[in-house]
Symmetry: C2
Subunit: 227 residues, 2 copies
DNA sequence: TACATTCACTCGTAATACAATCTTAGTGCA
DNA sequence: TGCACTAAGATTGTATTACGAGTGAATGTA
């Protein structure tokens, strides 16, 4: 094998099984197969995923630190419930994080990344025309991935990823609230315009507004139980 | 037992062993017992902590999602190395996060929490006069805990916690760089003054400056290996 | 009804086993 | 000597089994 062949090398090993397991459970939560407050007994997860308790438990640890599940000692994992107040907090953080992401995107993104972002927005727009919640979620996540990658800040990406994950736990996110979708896309349209025009201040401000609107749409729909 | 006795109830159960294990390893990293790039074989961790592989592995999953360790398939966990670029990214995020925390503290903190913050700063000042890195770290963390608690935003607290953890991985943080300590405290002094005076804008700006200075002190000291 | 007891179930943790893979020490060859 | 290759040893990845401890629900009793 010549040295140049190394560029064809695939990842040394397929990802460990535990990664797939975690993804699988995470996805089950994201698409609503498990709802906030649901109990997730280990046995059930083992059966669902077909792996041993060992792996299920390791997956739980990860999802726990992502804030998707909450483990109560001797009672097991539950899908995290998000209170209205917590949701407000998350949106507040997202405002800061995403406006920073916009500023950094303007500063750091390559032309390639700009193009990709634009394409991702188109995909998102297309996905939102269909009645496929999972597809929408995927498209939205991909859009954020592009934004974050262009911003070129790993830590920021992590934080945004976490906040987005948690927002997924709300029954009503901006992409689910019916009337909100078209508005949301429109906002992203001008946001991306600002990004591509390299207008960092405007983009950051638009991101703030966008998140603010998303919050205003989603938060009133949160239903809390009396306890 | 009367109903009123319930206020004396301690947490239902002692924290699960795995929590202590995770803390122990996290602490070992924080105080430099394990350094970035170090390999952490499971056996060694088992011996160190005295628990089974099961628990060590669960702890690894958690530390992994906190970004403190990086697991390479079939090679095991390593203490994460932070590049200069990553460090810059983290400080950028901290600027946003902590200035938000200041604004929220002004808006939400109770008088009690204001008092506690002030006390925490005094403790920090005291700790910095001693030659006890672990004590300093603890005092600094406590100060942040107070700030975050007063800000009353869980998600924000999580993010700040994570960013602080990762910063710990740098050999040279603002609290380790010799000349920097006094300045740092001075900055926090006026920052806390602004917080207690309920001047949100000023506090947020001071936080930005403080983190910026910390970054300027720490980042040049990062040594990267050619690879 | 209120309280105590019991019981089945799940979690928390440990220990063991084995396959897959990495590392390293050799081994043989040019 | 230097290099490719092999084999042995160590470590990780995953599954399985086991058992004490805690929880919640059913049961029994006053």
């Amino acid at each position: 094998m010549t040295k140049n062949d190394s560029m064809f090398r695939v990842d040394r090993v397929a990802a460990p099984l535990r990664v797939s397991v975690t993804e699988s459970i995470r996805n089950a939560i994201a698409i609503g197969r498990f709802k906030p407050g649901d109990h997730l007994p280990e046995r059930e997860l083992c059966e669902m995923t077909g792996v041993s308790r060992t792996l299920v438990r390791e997956a739980m640890r990860q999802l726990e630190s992502e804030g998707l599940v909450t483990v109560e000692p001797h009672r097991g994992p539950f899908v995290t419930k998000i209170s209205r107040q917590q949701a407000e907090g998350i949106y507040e953080v997202r405002q800061e994080l995403e406006s920073l992401a916009c500023r950094l995107f303007v500063a750091n993104a390559s032309d390639e990344q700009r193009k990709t972002l634009k394409a991702a927005l188109s995909s998102l727009r297309a996905a939102c025309r269909k009645q496929d919640p999972q597809g929408r979620l995927a498209a939205k996540n991909h859009f954020y991935d592009c934004l974050v990658e262009g911003a070129n800040n790993e830590a920021l990406g992590n934080c945004i990823y976490m906040m987005n994950s948690r927002i997924t736990l709300l029954r009503a996110t901006s992409l689910k609230a019916p009337g909100r979708i078209k508005e949301s896309i429109k906002e992203l349209d001008i946001l991306v315009d600002a990004l591509l025009a390299r207008d960092a201040d405007k983009a950051a401000e638009l991101a703030r507004i966008h998140i603010g609107n998303a919050a205003a749409a989603a938060i009133p729909l949160i239903e809390e139980e009396a306890d």
